[in-house]
């Protein structure tokens, strides 16, 4: 009955508490990873860190938060089976042209979706695939001695660093797109990632 109360009040549940909590761990971790990571590539003072040491500290704290929250989110997805809402299926792919037509202002009719639109699904799945790549290459950069087998697979630390950087570039682009759409598309949904209800 208690869980029904908000619904009776007209609130539609959208994100369970755990998913929201985890979102607000991995989202700042990814943002901190982007900021400190790109400073580490080109350490110029204008980029927000006074020295490499502090950027590294930020990056390494963020990396632990990201690894833990990512694994927890995968665990949650597996047990609650909510990955079905996130992974794009056949219907999403078939509906992609209609979605793109609307988003590219070629059609006025806003398509309706059960939870996430095909764009969001592709974006979240993309992030879900890039983060493990980021974690694996990042861990091998972090502990190149103990994880040298991963370095062998990448063909050396140089190529491995390049993959970590390129994955970082892709994570940056997807995160920027996600934040833009999250902030401009539907304030109700934006609210829902804090409150749980739209």
């Amino acid at each position: 009955m208690r869980s029904l109360l908000p619904i009776i009040k007209g609130k539609k549940p959208r994100h369970p508490l755990l998913a929201r909590l985890l979102h607000w761990v991995y989202a700042p971790a990814v943002l901190a990873g982007i900021l400190s990571g790109f400073y580490l590539t080109r350490p110029f003072p204008s980029q927000g860190f006074s020295k490499v040491e502090s950027a590294q500290k930020t990056h390494f704290v963020a990396q632990y938060l990201l690894i833990c929250s990512y694994l927890a989110r995968i665990y949650q997805a597996y047990f609650t089976k909510d990955y079905q809402e996130i992974l794009p299926g056949f219907n999403d792919m078939a509906g992609l042209p209609r979605f793109l037509q609307y988003e590219l202002f070629l059609s006025q009719k806003k398509p309706k979706y059960k939870k996430y639109n095909p764009g969001q699904k592709i974006l979240f799945t993309g992030l879900g695939l890039l983060i493990p790549l980021q974690i694996i290459t990042g861990l091998a950069l972090y502990k190149p001695n103990s994880l040298q087998k991963t370095v062998v697979l990448a063909g050396g630390l140089g190529p491995l660093r390049k993959w970590h950087y390129l994955a970082g570039v892709a994570v940056f682009a997807l995160s920027a797109g996600h934040i833009y759409f999250a902030c401009t598309h539907d304030p109700n949904k934006l609210k829902s990632i804090f409150t749980g209800y739209e």
Partner: protein, 349 residues
Amino acid sequence: MPIRIGTEPLRPGKLSRSAPPLIWLGTNTCGGDAVSFLNSLDPGYLDLLRDLADCRYLYLTMTAEGDMATRILDEMLTTLPGKYILVVEGTIPTRSNGLYSVVGMRNGEPLTALQAVRELGTKARYVVAVGTCAAFGGPFAAMPNPSGSLPVQAVLDRQVINVPGCPVNPDWMMGTLVHLIRFGEPELDSFNRPKLFYGETIHNLCQRRHYFDNSLFAKQPGEPWCMYQIGCKGPDTFADCPYRQWNGEHLSWPVKANTPCIGCVNPEFPDGNAPFFEHLPDVRLPGVRVTADRVGALTAAATVLGIGVHLAGSILTGRLAHAFKQTFSGSGARTRLLQNLIQRFSKKR
């Protein structure tokens, strides 16, 4: 009459019985590793000849040539299988049945490096690939690699100990040989390099590390700061150059000479870590080669442009205003949901 090399007399017959026979083949190589090896100080090259190994064949310094030299190789196979150490310097070309590197003639036919390394490598006690070319391909297998050159491990189905470097540091090679002779196989890392010399990154051993940590960077070679921003490969390179150093007397090394490390011991050297003066290696796509920085900059520009255009579109078509008006004017999801519930209830009745 003792043979003389320089001023030191060579005393045959002084070798201890345990000194294993040594063969040092030169395949596709510039010869730099053998020359560098000759600069070893303690033990020096003469110590190797006199006390440590029964050096039967070293392509650069031996006096034997032609059939006489090839005969030594044949003898090894027939009389000393499983006893000798084989050192290979250079890549093994595989194109045209290996004819791009011939180490001698046998029965009037060219004896290719491919054939020699396969035959001798199979029966050797240890196989050591000296220099980055032999260990990983290096410059002699660099793109476009017209001779189809491969590192030693790629043509031998057995353990090869890699002692890379372009050239190898004399200590790394002499140290590995002495270890093999006196104590057996040294502890190796996942790239089959002796951990003794390749166990830590240059970056972690570098005297300028505190400049790195505190963001004090050289803007061009010649400056006395950390070389990271001009492409130092120290963070990606496992070698002990900072304390072992080079130039015979352990005098200097690249960063001490105010120039970035180019990562010459790395498996990706040189194609996979060029350009040397850039932090990240280039990104190679079919037909194009771009710097990693440019990939980053182009992606960032495309992202900003995409978001900007969509935002402009949303403002101009009124969608943005509509989304916010709907939420804050009360005709949002909550109202929609209430309307839905009312509709549903009234239908049921």
